[in-house]
Symmetry: C2
Subunit: 120 residues, 2 copies
């Protein structure tokens, strides 16, 4: 049983695993850092501690972002989307957000579709 | 069977429903517009037509964003994340991205956590 505010808990639309998607954005640059998942308790802890806390689908438990790496996220704002199944989390990121050491999880060389020639 | 490039198809890590998460960002402002889902065929069509195409979990079929509203998305860039289970899609959005008529799906008054007093 989570301590999440009951009004908020009533509104959340969770997936079959009881999770909502969290899109994490760097507060100053607006760069999309990563996507993770929250259950009710992760959201409750994120809102009350301002330390971004997710539910790890691989580990099957809560994890505070940066708990081992030190690359924590201080949470500035959390918004719920129109469908109540996705959160937009604005954070101040300490160090790289990605476990591979890059600033964001999308900083691979891997662009599936390059920008238009007009952009270059 | 999708026509998606076999190398890319091999690398994608789909959820139990065969989908990957797509975070959609406005090309010029970097605002997060919405989150949607793609199966292989949706991704193939998005990459080859540059018209953002998703898999609707509620309708159980592909949908071209804006097919009824006219609020289409011209795709400028698609990136895959470090885990190969999430796409970052940069688009030029025509009209509001949200079916409620707002610019983004996160433009509710609903902030679960307000920004720090220091921000105001």
């Amino acid at each position: 049983m989570s301590a999440l505010d009951p009004d908020l808990a009533r509104r959340l639309k969770r997936n079959a695993d009881g999770l909502v998607c969290a899109v994490v954005v760097e507060h100053t640059t607006s760069a999309v850092l990563m996507v993770a998942w929250m259950d009710d308790e992760a959201l409750h802890r994120t809102l009350t501690t301002r330390r971004a806390t997710y539910f790890s689908r691989s580990k099957g438990r809560l994890w505070v972002k940066g708990e081992t790496s030190g690359h924590t996220q201080y949470v500035r704002e959390v918004r719920l989307d129109c469908d109540a199944d996705t959160l937009l989390v604005r954070v101040e990121q300490t160090g790289p957000a990605c476990h591979t050491g890059t600033t964001t999880c999308f900083d691979t060389d891997e662009r599936l579709l390059l920008a238009d020639p007009a952009d270059v």
